[in-house]
């Protein structure tokens, strides 16, 4: 696995750039990761990221878009507005988690 340094953090990532060890993540890294994909984080973004982190910790896998909407209470439309085009993958990337693998 490649090791890279971002914002002073040494992080392990996969070939696409997703963190392979979620414990290496913190808020500052989240901000840096978001910047790399052209997203400036607002409170609304953080609400989604915090849900992803919490749900991953509890369930052991990255929630799908549907789960962020039904369980996390953030409407799908909002998620598309916050993380345009590919919200599920972008959120997972910023939150330092693997891509969600559920189909829906």
């Amino acid at each position: 696995m490649p090791v890279t340094t971002l914002n002073g953090h040494q992080i392990h990532v996969n070939e696409e750039g997703f963190l392979t060890d979620p414990t290496e993540w913190d808020d500052a890294l989240g901000t840096a990761l978001a910047e790399l994909i052209g997203v400036t984080l607002t409170d609304a973004h953080w609400q989604a990221i915090r849900f992803l982190r919490k749900d991953f910790e509890e369930v052991g896998e990255t929630p799908t878009l549907r789960r962020v909407s039904t369980v996390g209470g953030i409407p799908i439309k909002t998620l598309f507005a916050l993380f345009p085009q590919k919200p599920a993958k972008k959120m997972a990337y910023v939150a330092g988690l693997p891509k969600p693998h559920g189909c829906v």
């Binding site: 696995m1 490649p2 090791v3 890279t4 340094t5 971002l6 040494q10 990532v13 070939e15 696409e16 750039g17 997703f18 790399l36 994909i37 052209g38 799908t64 878009l65 549907r66 789960r67 909407s69 039904t70 409407p75 799908i76 439309k77 598309f80 345009p84 085009q85 590919k86 919200p87 599920a88 993958k89 972008k90 990337y93 559920g102 189909c103 829906v104």
Partner: protein
């Protein structure tokens, strides 16, 4: 492979030029529960990947957007050898109801929504729903009878025009 500290960060190509402007057209022509899902799942997946998606409901697929039937699609074992059950069983009274509720349960267990809610999710994700003019005329249905988020009743040629350059799936 271990890169050193000096290596640049690897950034996923979320917004690469290659996938930009990708468009998918899905024709839903079946009205059974099991055949409704492939189109919905693929539409939803494509939207999540940033594709523009148009669904065209035609013939039996009209049941997926008809307010009267969309929440009550059924699954039958009859004629479906993939259930690996004796075909005669499928014709017994109550079997279609039983097969339907079993399938609905398996789908719900995966947290996949029922058809009406799935359509709602697809529209919220930016998908477009279109109804087939000929199917509407044959069944004497108007926009009033259809799911509210259906954008319009259009002809087959209108749909082909709207989806110029799209990749197409017929289900």
């Amino acid at each position: 492979m271990t890169n050193t500290d000096a290596s640049p960060a690897i950034v996923p190509s979320f917004d690469s030029e290659v996938g930009a402007g990708r468009k998918l057209a899905i024709i839903c022509s079946k009205g059974s529960l099991d055949m409704a899902y492939p189109g919905l799942i693929l539409a939803n997946a494509a939207l999540g990947e940033g594709c523009e998606v148009h669904l065209f409901f035609t013939f039996w697929g009209f049941d997926m957007i008809n307010k009267k039937t969309m929440g009550d699609l059924k699954f039958t074992m009859l004629g479906n050898t993939a259930t690996h059950m004796p075909q005669g069983l499928g014709g017994l009274p109550g079997m279609t109801g039983m097969a339907t509720s079993r399938l609905k349960k398996s789908i719900a267990d995966l947290d996949v929504p029922e058809v009406p809610e799935f359509l709602e999710q697809i529209v919220a994700s930016g998908g477009h729903l279109w109804a087939c003019r000929m199917s509407a005329d044959m069944n004497k249905l108007t926009m009033e009878d259809l799911y509210d988020e259906v954008e319009d009743i259009i002809s087959a040629s209108d749909f082909i025009e709207k989806t110029e350059g799209a990749q197409l799936l017929f289900i």
